[in-house]
Symmetry: C2
Subunit: 552 residues, 2 copies
């Protein structure tokens, strides 16, 4: 036996609310770790409840289940040390550290904790101090902050524990590393966003160097509603070297050893290119949404355009071609090449493909509506009607067959409301909801890196909704490269329209697009959820009033 | 001149984001107050931005507008004292009172403040200490807490200032009232819920008595998205007497005088019955949503059932009969009496009424879908199709005429998913979204208190969705009085199904209904917003994951 301390980071896919299932995951990991001679195992943040459990945390029954699960883990921890992330009810004997905590009467008062068990006994409890309450996070809705570091000794090594946000607060890290700590273990539930993994590594390297302390970062993996957790757990040594890197977007154990004079780790998974990371985030977003809601088959409208083409590619990679049904629903404005291209992609991918014309349905509605429309000029009403007939068809197929409808709109369209509520917005999961149109094109190229999955013509032809004769997106929107940049600055960076104009964009375009963003909040509020992959998605992340008169 | 101090509570309807407009409201109030010889005016919480401004607070341009508005108020405060609620950027010279505040980099760091100006000069600033971050509130997302009471002297009277949540924290009230305070002024943005006003009065009376200090409570009025602020500002004297009461659901000034030995107030508006309060909350919810989003006309499907009947009554009271269009869309399962009753109510109210059959549209979809439906039994797909054809019709009328579609589902239905996504759920505002079915019946009786607005037959016939032959709600749901009680306990009180069963309900019903609540979160997530009138509505108030496996 060496004096090395062997630590295993459990990069697991915990399911929200499934305390029994998550407990089984941890118990199984304890078994294997003991078999493998591992000394310490560490789960991600809130591994027992999944992340984020949201208002399930307000249910007293949830707390009871968690406490029972912890008893089982405690009993199972023979022969090793288990560090498990979990909500924990604040013991009534502890003073309320939150001056105004008493205000929120009713639900259980909780910490976001890590429980540490060794050899069948409770050793310590660390309570998360930094509670993020911004972006998609609402932790101060549920938790009260802890107020002290925790260091435990295992085989003579001193291990400090932190949870997620804590490691981003220099003072908290420094306090935890005081007094010859041998390794800092950080339990995380850090969602994916483009560039986020680089940011984590850079930051944690900096903290390791500054505190001369190795840091092990274990992240959750798996998708939960709009969040995608990318895994990619890693270990940084005391001089800032990334000595171990787990894989991304899949469950994995990352084992490392604290040796006398170094941190050793055999696993060094490759980092992903930006396109591959984004694409795999979307694929995991879809596959986990289906797995966790119990759907097995997907249905989508394939229009011959690039958004539905990319959505189909993602769906097939997530679910398999035999579980995806693409439906082309032509109308008189649909170009022949749209039908051809749609069929070609479905054939290449080998998924079910159907064509259902909406001609007679649209005409029937127009007949019924004629008395009301008399004297009114043609406008977007007629376009929306086509889109809604398609929505009704897809939903009927969905209801009858149990397949979930995927919507295909991208972030640029969702931003300016270039979509029909109850039409192309009808569906359960919006795959590209947080992907800018310019990234849609880049991902289409990524999909085609080895073979032409998406017909080249779909990528190169001018984008069109095909809801009116000879319609092109550029009739009503600026070119997408310009549009995406101005929208990013308005939506993700909170620039004012004047700032964006000063940066060199056409004033009229900027004002019109920002206004479209403002007035289309009502559409986004009724949109399907979809995977968040940017720093600010249209979901829990961006909370705007519908009725407001703010003009920046 | 007496030594009395005259104070005016400004129960105003501030519009979210409309800093310029809200500034004008305050400036106008300053003018009249000066004319009326008032010494002190007090606005509701965040009067300059409206409440809740949500993520508009993250925009630096909003902060700039607020600071400019405050300069104007300061200059205008000649001859009196102005207490105005507003977000306020934390001066860089002030230490960060929040140990982990540095984590949330980027957006402006703000207090939720009351600025006090007298005679053209800044006198003091109070920063809210209790920041609610539960139910519909997200104040810790935007604000950092203040840490000290503020007392200002006006004409020798000592006035302490608190903001909303603060008054619910006994320690904070006690600290503010130390040292011979003559009156506590509380700025509020307290949303309506059934029974809430009684709770406010009881609590504030208690605080007044305990601290031997009069308390003036000024509340916002008006609706903002799903929140309805009911106004009802009031003044409690030092022995707990409610000496002044403003009206409800409308703008109003409440004037009172601090005299040598008493608090005097001439206004004592009547409290409202529970039914009247709820009904007026719905009416204000509708009228303000239209006013604040710029819609002038409403459209709704009138089915002959009680939900759409009540929705129509509310819409007509909110907007006037000439701005409401009721559309009956019969199919073969629609009873003749449904068409008759719908027409009768529209006639009584004097609003536009149309009949459009969905027969041919439904048949056309069935024809197009026949190849896919072959071999599948009839199920709810066919029911949803009828509902969706109605949704398409209403949305086409809405798009063409600019009228906003009101949806008519109630809270009991939204809870168990007894509604069709993109069908009867299609629309911009869900009037009864937070009204339990049993309350729908009570409100229908309230509407008919003076004359039969809602045909008696609509109230007494067994409820039915009329989507299949001889269908009644009771075929698939427990009686509504039982259903509502079990749902309230599950949804509003966080009871587990076992607790509800133990309380005397049929186990099978309870388990089935709770499961329906769980699995229909995806529908609610895409539902239109509607006025929150209970302690836990289906909006910002209840944040549940869609994909979860929690079983209580």
């Amino acid at each position: 036996m060496s004096d090395d301390l062997s630590i295993r980071l459990l990069q697991i896919n915990a399911q929200v609310g499934d305390v029994a299932g998550n407990l089984q995951r941890v118990l199984a990991a304890i078994e294997s770790a003991r078999d493998d001679g591992v000394d310490v195992i560490v789960t991600p943040e809130l591994a027992l409840t999944g992340y984020p459990p949201e208002d399930l945390l307000l249910r007293p029954a949830m707390t009871n289940q968690v406490l029972n699960a912890l008893s089982e883990i405690e009993a199972a921890s023979q022969g090793l040390t288990v560090v498990v992330g979990t909500p924990f009810p604040i013991p009534v004997t502890e003073p309320n550290p939150w001056p105004l905590g008493a205000v929120t009467a009713g639900p259980p008062r909780l910490y976001n904790s890590a429980l540490i068990y060794t050899d069948g006994a409770h050793v310590a409890r660390y309570d998360k101090q930094g509670l993020p309450n911004y972006q998609v996070f609402d932790e101060r809705r549920y938790f009260e902050p802890g107020h002290a570091p925790v260091v435990v000794s295992v085989k003579g090594r001193r291990l400090a524990i932190l949870i997620c946000e804590d490691v981003w607060v220099p003072e908290v890290v420094a306090e935890s590393c005081q007094g010859a700590v041998d390794c800092l273990l950080v339990l995380n539930a850090s969602p994916f966003a483009e560039g986020k993994h680089d940011e984590r590594i850079r930051h944690v390297e900096h903290r390791a160097i500054q505190n001369r302390c190795p840091i092990a970062y274990v992240n959750l993996v798996g998708a939960q509603d709009e969040l995608v957790f990318d895994g990619g757990s890693f270990v940084i040594d005391a001089v800032g070297g990334r000595v171990g890197q787990a894989t991304f977007f899949e469950e994995s154990n990352l084992d490392f050893q604290l040796q006398a004079d170094r941190v050793a780790c055999a696993q060094q998974a490759a980092l992903l290119s930006p396109d591959e990371a984004l694409y795999r985030a979307l694929v995991l977003g879809v596959s986990d949404y289906f797995a966790k809601t119990g759907f097995s088959r997907a249905l989508l409208g394939l229009s011959g355009g690039i958004d539905s083409a990319l959505t189909l590619a993602v769906a097939v990679d997530a679910l398999g071609a035999d579980r995806v049904h693409a439906v082309m629903m032509p109308y008189r404005y649909t170009a022949d090449i749209s039908v051809e291209d749609a069929k070609q992609q479905a054939d290449v991918l080998g998924c079910e493909f159907s064509v259902v014309s909406i001609e007679s349905m649209v005409d029937d509605f127009m007949t019924g509506l004629a008395p009301f429309f008399e004297g009114h000029p043609i406008d977007t009403t007629e376009e929306n009607l086509q889109s809604r007939c398609r929505g009704v068809l897809l939903m009927a197929l969905s209801n009858k067959t149990g397949a979930l409808v995927l919507t295909t709109g991208n972030k640029s369209e969702m931003a300016v409301g270039y979509a029909t509520l109850y039409g192309d917005m009808a569906g359960g999961f919006a795959v590209l909801k947080d992907v800018w149109k310019t990234r849609v094109y880049e991902l289409a190229r990524f999909v085609n890196r080895d073979r032409e999955v998406i017909p080249e013509r779909v990528i190169v032809r001018p984008p069109s909704a095909e809801l009116a004769p000879d319609q092109e997106d550029s009739d009503s929107l600026p070119p997408y490269d310009q549009l995406d940049t101005m929208l990013k600055r308005y939506i993700e960076d909170d620039w004012s329209p004047e700032d964006i104009i000063a940066d060199g964009f056409a004033a009229e375009d900027v004002r019109r697009m920002c206004r479209l963003v403002d007035v289309n909040e009502y559409k986004r509020r009724q949109a399907a959820i979809g995977p968040r992959v940017t720093v600010r998605g249209f979901g829990r992340d961006r909370r705007y009033p519908i009725a407001h008169r703010f003009k920046a």
